[in-house]
């Protein structure tokens, strides 16, 4: 009973939060709603016995990602509203609803559900984090390492793109200006 109540509660909350995130014209409101939605999502993970995933969800999304967003937003003039020129909201809604219905339809069909076989069954008597660790460091070791490298690359890219010459924009400068700048750097012995 607790499960049912919490499912519907969290469902309502997430849907509502995400809806606000999508529709709100205020970036700050949207950001807050998104953060709330993320946390509510982690609620599902806890219900589904994926404790570790839930924790990660809160840490990475609500912690890292959203903080990144909020820092990012400081670069922009968020007060300046971007005019949502969208006149016809019918097409997006119809398309979205249609795809949703279709996905549900497909999942309902027995042909799909019947074919799923458990390859890595949950091990009895071990905690969720332990289980995840066992699979992650055996079967998914290489993807895990690759993901790590990817994160590193992304981090460096993020720093380079956003951080280099914070005062200047290379892309906005003309070639001669860049050349002059480089020249100055060389003279300074850099």
């Amino acid at each position: 009973m607790f499960e049912v109540i919490s499912f519907y509660l969290f469902s309502f909350l997430t849907i509502a939060m995400f809806w606000i995130a999508v529709t709100s014209s205020q970036a700050l409101h949207a950001l807050s709603a998104l953060a709330a939605g993320m946390i509510f999502i982690s609620g599902f993970f806890f219900i589904l016995d994926a404790d570790f995933l839930g924790a990660i969800q809160i840490v990475v999304y609500s912690g890292a990602v959203l903080v990144l967003y909020s820092f990012g937003m400081m670069f922009f003039d968020t007060t300046r509203d971007i005019v949502e020129r969208e006149v016809n909201t019918l097409i997006p809604s119809v398309l979205s609803v249609l795809s949703a219905v279709m996905v549900v339809l497909i999942f309902m069909a027995p042909i799909v559900g019947d074919n799923i076989i458990s390859h890595y069954p949950v091990i009895e008597g071990a905690g969720n984090a332990q289980q995840v660790g066992m699979v992650l460091f055996t079967k998914y070791l290489i993807p895990f390492e690759v993901a790590a490298i990817m994160l590193l690359v992304a981090m460096i890219a993020g720093i380079v793109l956003a951080g280099k010459k914070m005062d200047k924009s290379l892309t906005l400068m003309r070639d001669e200006e860049i050349e002059i700048m480089h020249e100055r750097d060389r003279k300074a012995g850099l």
Binding site: I91, S99, M102, V103, L105, I111, V112
Partner: protein
């Protein structure tokens, strides 16, 4: 023996190649003399071979393989038997004379060397044609003479009419050659070989319809080369070529190739008398048809060409009736006197500065005695007066027709004999007798070179005496050909017929002389008559061909090109290309660079994919139900 054969065959080729070496240079006498000498060699070799054959030897040699694939085996094989040696004699003799004559005739032509090259090449092709022992070899010669004929008719290629006539001759012959080719295919697939001897040995075992097909298709080939109706128009136009060419190719040798083919295939045509009868009827028809056109024509060479056509009709009539040796005999005799007639006409043309209208001549007897005598002899022989060659050969054809009880053919041929006599002597009278009409045109005629006349003299002698060789010839040829002697039932009938024919011919000659020997006046009234117009315009057949075959062909070609090829076939391809291109142009609007739009398209694509997947899932889950519904519908 084999050496002789090869000498006879290849010396014309050597002569041709020798003359060809000089084609790029100015006229050199040697380019004419050497081929002539080589042809004489060939003639001597042929004579020696004739002696061999008269002793009863026949020769069969195989030079080398030509084509061999699958079951097909075609060698370059040559046979010397009674038929081929007869043809060889005719070809080498007439061509030697024509060559020597041409040295004088072509004296002033700047393409003297080229002329001899082609003329000798022609003789070589003709020798291949008559000496081959298989249909494929025959076809080589067949096409070879066609090529040389094309080159020689169009010898003066700067003249539009000459090149046109050359192409006409070649293309018309090609039409017939297709028939011939199909005939050859039929022979091969039914007998498995193209050798005469083997093929004819198998033919009696084949069924009649196949043989009829073979006979008809081979005869179509013969019709083209021998200019039988309806493929006859090229022969008269071929007179655009130099006169020696007309004498050699379009009178004595090439045009008789068709007759040779029928004679050679006598074993086949004996098996299918119906086709034979058709050939004979067509021959008789052509004999009269051509003679009628010769009656009114005003071009000396064309008159002789029609006469050739008419005589070819005689030969086909004889061959069709099964009198193959008679046909061959007439072929030989005709070669002599017709070549003589043409060469004489050549002399006249030279004398008259290439004037061809006999109405502008007259009275040439005084200046050209030799030519006059020879042409008269030839005309007498052509008319078939006793005791010249034409009498014997033509009379035999009439007898054959009579003895075979084909009285319609007989009477047509008899009537044609009268026509022949009339137009021949109309020509002689107009050219050599009467008043000297040429003086108005300021022409000063002169006799040809002496050696030209000397060269012609063997032909004149043969035209006179060929008839007396009849029995020797008969004995020789009938070793190979059916030896039918045509005996009219009673001697009385025979004598009545012979004398009657002679009288009829004599009357025709007399009429021609009476009408044309005196002062010739233009008979305007007569020329307006319908029958004159029809005859003068060659029954409007060239006009018909031009209007209803050549023109539509040309127009159809343009339609095919401009309308169908460019506007339908190519346009369809281009349409496919441009429609793809247009689709790209139109859908390019989708790529407006706006990320939002693209995302919308992406979602739309996702939706479509999902719908498809859902449909697939539905169908897959309900497959049994749907199948049962389908089967119910089907039942």
């Amino acid at each position: 023996m084999e050496m002789l054969l090869y000498i006879a065959l290849f010396s014309p080729l050597v002569g041709s190649l020798f003359a060809a070496l000089f084609t790029a240079q100015k006229k050199t006498l040697i380019a004419g003399v050497v081929p002539s000498a080589l042809l004489f060699t060939s003639f001597v070799a042929s004579t020696l071979l004739l002696i061999q054959v008269l002793q009863g030897n026949t020769i069969n040699v195989e030079l080398m393989t030509w084509m061999a694939t699958g079951n097909l085996y075609i060698p370059f094989g040559f046979v010397i038997d009674q038929i081929s040696v007869t043809m060889m004699m005719v070809v080498t003799l007439v061509s030697t004379i024509v060559h020597i004559y041409s040295i004088g005739y072509m004296d002033h032509d700047k393409s003297f060397n080229r002329f001899f090259s082609w003329l000798s090449a022609f003789v070589f092709s003709m020798m291949v044609l008559v000496m081959s022992d298989n249909f494929a070899g025959l076809f080589i010669g067949w096409e070879g003479v066609g090529l040389c004929s094309w080159a020689l008719i169009g010898f003066w290629y700067h003249k539009e009419s000459a090149t046109w006539a050359a192409n006409e001759a070649f293309i018309m012959n090609r039409i017939a050659d297709l028939g011939m080719l199909i005939g050859i295919f039929l022979v091969y697939w039914n007998t498995g070989t193209l050798q005469y001897a083997e093929a004819f040995a198998i033919m009696p075992t084949l069924d009649n319809s196949t043989l009829t097909m073979i006979g008809i298709f081979l005869f179509i080939g013969a019709m083209g080369k021998s200019a039988q109706f309806p493929l006859h128009t090229w022969l008269a136009d071929a007179m655009e070529g130099p006169t020696p060419v007309s004498a050699l190719i379009h009178a004595a040798t090439m045009v008789t190739a068709g007759v040779y083919l029928i004679v050679r295939s006598n074993e086949l045509y004996d098996l299918i008398p119906n086709v034979g009868l058709f050939i004979a009827s067509l021959g008789a028809f052509v004999a009269m048809f051509a003679a009628s056109m010769a009656l009114v024509n005003r071009d000396m060479k064309r008159i002789i060409a029609y006469s050739t056509l008419s005589q070819l009709g005689y030969m086909f009539a004889a061959a069709g009736l099964g009198a193959y040796w008679v046909a061959l005999f007439h072929l030989v005799a005709h070669a002599f006197f017709k070549a003589l007639l043409f060469l004489g006409a050549g002399n006249v043309m030279h004398a008259m500065s290439d004037e061809l209208d006999p109405f502008k001549m007259g009275g040439l007897r005084k200046v050209m005695k030799g030519t006059f005598i020879m042409m008269t002899l030839a005309s007498v022989a052509l008319a078939g007066l006793f005791p010249l060659a034409g009498f014997f050969s033509k009379d035999l054809i009439l007898e054959a027709a009579f003895a075979e009880h084909h009285f319609i053919i007989y009477s047509v041929l008899l009537f044609t004999a009268g026509l022949t006599a009339f137009y021949s002597f109309r020509l002689v009278a107009l050219i050599f007798h009467g008043e000297e009409r040429y003086k108005i045109f300021g022409i000063h005629p002169h006799e040809a070179y002496k050696f030209m006349l000397v060269a012609m003299s063997p032909l004149a002698i043969l035209a006179v005496i060929a008839g007396s060789l009849k029995m020797t010839y008969f004995e020789m040829v009938t070793n190979l050909l059916p030896a039918t002697e045509y005996h009219i039932h009673s001697h009385t009938t025979y004598w009545i017929m012979t004398i009657g024919t002679q009288l009829f011919v004599g009357l025709a000659i007399a009429f021609a002389y009476k009408k044309y020997i005196g002062k010739v006046k233009e008979d305007k009234e007569f020329e307006k008559r319908f029958c004159y117009k029809v005859l003068f315009n060659q029954y409007y057949i060239p006009h018909f061909y031009d209007e209803y075959i050549v023109k539509p062909y040309r127009e159809l070609s343009y339609i095919f090109w401009k309308q169908i090829d460019l506007k339908i076939v190519d346009a369809t391809v281009d349409f496919i290309g441009t429609s793809l291109y247009k689709t790209g142009e139109v859908t390019r609007g989708v790529q407006n660079g706006n990320l939002s739009t693209m995302l919308k398209w992406m979602v739309a694509g996702l939706a479509v994919l999902l719908v498809l997947a859902a449909m697939f899932t539905l169908v897959a889950t309900n497959a049994d139900f749907l199948l049962s519904v389908y089967h119910d519908l089907g039942a």
